[in-house]
Amino acid sequence: MTQLKYFGLGLFLGILVVGTVTAVKAYLTKEKVLGESVISAATLDIATTPQSALFYFEGVTPGFGSGEKKITLKNTGTTNLKYTISIEPANTSDNNVLYGALEYTFYEYNENSQLTKTVGGNGALLKDLQNVEIAQTLNSGQEKQLGVEISLPQTANNEIQGLTTNFRIIFNAIQEDGAF
């Protein structure tokens, strides 16, 4: 019976310690909710401008370059987030040799519009742009610009003449302390 009492006391002390630490942490961070509840109270949302047709080029030939197209990303949620960028063909038929031949360069800017990172270039293929993690986090309410340039190399062969590809750019956002 005494041992059972001690066991119960141990449980009670454990709950008390965890509860106290969580409450103090919540007080210090000025959150009104406790522990893990903070996460469920937050919202994670992200918006892009434009929302469609960043690239629309017809009749491209080898040596084509789209020029840098800017994307504005805004964290419209209440929690900070980080994100990855990917490209995928809209339909199976869009995954053709033209899609496979396109190259990309991706630019990341900070909030002062200064270039902070370049990904791709040097013949990097658009189809390989998969889950590239953006270095900077996007804080709640913050807005940043990214740039993407697409090109068709001079070495593109005749096989791709007359082909069309449709693709989507995907931003996969996750809360700042999350793992992809």
Binding site: A53, G59, G162, Q175, A179
Partner: protein, 152 residues
């Protein structure tokens, strides 16, 4: 000594703190969201001229396109009768593995009507074998369109 004396209280204490502190961290799901920029389109133009103005030039163009494996452009130069049977995708998929090693035009074009003609082409394959085909063209919309081929 301390453990042995107090293990009855220490065991539940350690268990409950571990559970409450660490398990939720491991088990929690992170918020995620995917957003898309849809409807991006790139279409390739034509940068090599293929001449379909006469049956003879058309047969040379067919040979060049076949040799290059450029069945997309070949499809664009099919006679309606043939292009109505297949979609471009079906046509390209059907021919994508049938690339050739070379071709030769055998003689002049033979006009069967004012709007139909054929040219005999000798096709050479990768194993150096060769076959001759009668390549038939229809005159449609101002140019000679491929109607079909038949082994001679």
């Amino acid at each position: 000594m301390f453990w042995n004396t107090n293990k009855t209280i220490l065991i539940p204490f350690v268990l409950v703190t571990t559970f409450l502190f660490f398990l939720p961290q491991k088990a929690r799901a992170f918020f995620t969201k995917e957003v898309f920029i849809n409807s991006n389109l790139i279409s390739a133009g034509y940068w090599e001229e293929y001449d379909f103005t006469t049956p003879l030039k058309a047969s040379d163009s067919v040979g060049k396109l076949w040799l290059a494996g450029n069945f997309n452009v070949l499809y664009d130069n099919l006679a309606k009768t043939l292009s109505e049977i297949y979609t471009k995708e079906e046509f390209v998929n059907a021919l994508k593995d049938s690339k050739i090693a070379g071709f030769e035009i055998m003689g002049e074009a033979v006009y069967t009507t004012s709007a139909q003609a054929y040219v005999v082409m000798k096709i050479r394959y990768a194993d150096n074998s060769s076959r001759e085909y009668k390549t038939v063209f229809n005159y449609e919309d101002g140019s000679w369109k491929l109607l079909g081929t038949k082994e001679v």
